[in-house]
Assembly symmetry: C2
Homo-oligomer: 402 residues x 2
């Protein structure tokens, strides 16, 4: 709690209403008497707030409770399909879409190929078409769409919400929130892809009760996000978690950022593919691509060769995992998380590849924080950022800091 | 905001009272009408809470406000010298003491030489004597001492509050909170020294309005603390910010932790002194100690030689600062802080030594977060941890998460 001289007017009134709505969400079914008991507000005050929430359709009657003497009390719960939220994940290969209702249930999901280095305006056009289709198909009234969250593989300013730099899209200084405003009157929330994944893992994934965890996603680049004390941690200008340019190899190759030996030069789909091509051309490893053109090798080829028993492909992945292990050790010491969740392409790491990552991370980290952390792969897969983006408007409704 | 099924009973009632007390603190002088306006609570509800706070002596009448039509309103402010808090900083050279009143004013400060590798029981005896002396001298009644904060140069479990490991004191698995309970009936708060410094900088130092900042302290070891989103970030088990064992030199010497090239092997009073001794013995630098025994060199000798123009001493410090710059670059990328505050021995770095630190940090960090951070030295000096420890019971009173 922190309030300055310029604190919001009437914040306690709003806080009380949001607190009740959140208690109804987390309890699933609850009576007015229990709400009064939990909050310390008077039964009358609770009754007024519950009436307001019913009138706005956020909640509905959800059953009859057990009698504690008198009449059996009405129970209240979130009203399914009353309000909706949409998540959009703009990535280098696809734009993904999720429609979610107020209860967090996914009503619809789809992905459209986006093409590498797509223009901003082309992307907005694709998104506009899909959003209109979803809104019409599900007959979502204007005031029932809580908002659209948009996940971006790049840094987003946490005050202006401008996209600062999304290198793999080729986007720099893009005010997407403003540019998308013409699509509809709903609120738009632009967010970083790793941060969206953390929101997802915390709301519906493997970090439901975790207050302090880190999500690491590998895709074209590598990035992370930090949940600190129960909230997503953004840093002072929105770029917290940018571990891609931490130096892990003193003698490393030059990175696009100008420095040498950055994590991203060793652990990213792009750098892994480039390393494989380099080693094959130099004759340092056997050409495991067989009938493929070396130039056409993708990360999929490396993963499938490795899982088909190709040793050269496996070693490339083991080495990349080892360097990621060094970065993970730094995160364990600095952040002291309870979980580190590996997402996107990292879920394709086989057991023995992951083993190398964990061995190095635990050997290099301090014993105490290392003994408290679990390194796991996400169970949700590629949709974490789209799901997280859809959850943003819900979190806003339930009074969470974004 | 986050509440589970087992949320505290009546938390909103307590929250409302604490919120008003905090508004009175931050506004210094405020009327009941303005409190009602700011909070959205009814004037009657505000009146009842203000009466409670007056009765408990937390606040007192603090003047008469400007009329907005009717009678000029009474203003309320924190009641000076009504409640007190004590901070104790246990370090390798001294145990420091601070007495502070509810308004944050320092009433008393002192330090007692502690001797290196002091025993736990000897330290508790020293502390007990000093606490009793302060309590008697300032005639502090039992119910007016809000608590005693204790700063420790080591990792503290954030659930059990046990000291896990304080290598420079030689303490491991010490339940100091429990062992100090016999001294008095006041609450005791054990905390990490860098975390105490961050609390201090945020409450009365150079980070008053900063939500996201990092404090780095160099002493025998090196540690940091992270303020994230307006709160101290502890991690899942209390050891967040332990940057001393981040690897910054692949070819580095062996660290006490078993790894090689840890930051602490390059940047700490101990490692700087050891490096100086090694270089002098190997004849690699001139002996700048002159009439001193090489074995007796201290960090003070190195700082004073450097400031007296000795080039060898200066270069040792410049190199240490450079390695710290690498760690600072990692923190800028990962944490995206608005300020990095260098404390304890680091405030003795001269301008050109600091320059090397900043140059490397800004060259190695990503441009965007680097453009948003300021690297500064603490203006408070060696008392930050003792002051921060004294502020802990105050923060608890004003409803802050510890």
């Amino acid at each position: 709690m922190k309030m300055g001289k310029t604190g919001n007017n009437k914040f306690l009134k709003q806080f009380n209403e949001t607190s009740l709505l959140e208690l109804i969400r987390t309890n699933k079914q609850i009576s007015k008497a229990d709400l009064a008991q939990l909050t310390g507000l008077s039964p009358t005050a609770c009754g007024i707030i519950v009436s307001n929430l019913l009138e706005k359709s956020y909640i509905s009657e959800a059953g009859i409770g057990i009698s504690t003497g008198g009449r059996r009390p009405n129970l209240y719960g979130l009203n399914p399909k009353s309000y909706f939220s949409i998540g959009v994940d703009i990535d280098v290969d696809y734009i993904r879409f999720i429609l979610m209702d107020i209860t967090g249930k996914v009503e619809y999901r789809d992905k459209i190929p986006s093409g590498f280095e797509q223009s901003v305006s082309k992307s907005i056009k694709l998104i506009e078409g899909k959003l209109n289709q979803i809104i019409q198909e599900y007959e979502i009234k204007e005031d029932r769409l809580l908002g659209v969250g948009v996940s971006i593989p790049g840094m987003v300013d946490n005050i202006t919400h401008e996209i600062i730099f999304a290198p793999n899209l080729g986007w720099e200084r893009v005010d997407l929130e403003h540019m998308m405003a013409s699509i509809g009157s709903f609120p738009i929330y632009i967010d970083n892809e790793a941060m969206c994944s953390a929101i997802c893992e915390n709301w519906i994934g493997c970090c439901l009760d975790q207050k302090d965890f880190v999500c690491i996603n590998m895709k074209s680049g590598i990035g992370s996000s930090i949940f600190a004390g129960g909230n997503l941690y953004r840093g002072c200008s929105g770029s917290a978690g940018e571990i891609g340019h931490i130096m892990v190899d003193h003698n490393g190759i030059k990175c696009a950022c100008g420095n040498y030996g950055c994590l991203e030069t060793l652990v990213s789909s792009k750098s892994i593919v480039e390393k494989a091509k380099r080693l094959i051309r130099q004759g340092l490893i056997a050409d495991f691509t067989e009938d493929l053109d070396i130039d056409a090798i993708t990360i999929d080829d490396i993963f499938s060769s490795a899982s088909n028993g190709n040793e050269a492909a496996r070693v490339i992945l083991v080495e990349a995992a080892g360097y990621l292990g060094l970065a993970v050790a730094n995160l364990i010491n600095t952040i002291n998380p309870s979980k580190i969740v590996l997402g996107k392409e990292l879920v394709r790491f086989s057991e023995d590849v992951l083993e190398n990552l964990k061995n190095i991370a635990f050997a290099k980290a301090l014993k105490y924080p290392a003994s408290r952390v679990e390194i796991i792969t996400s169970e949700i897969g590629e949709d974490t950022s789209a799901l997280g983006a859809a959850i943003i408007p819900l979190k806003k409704l339930f009074g969470y800091r974004l």
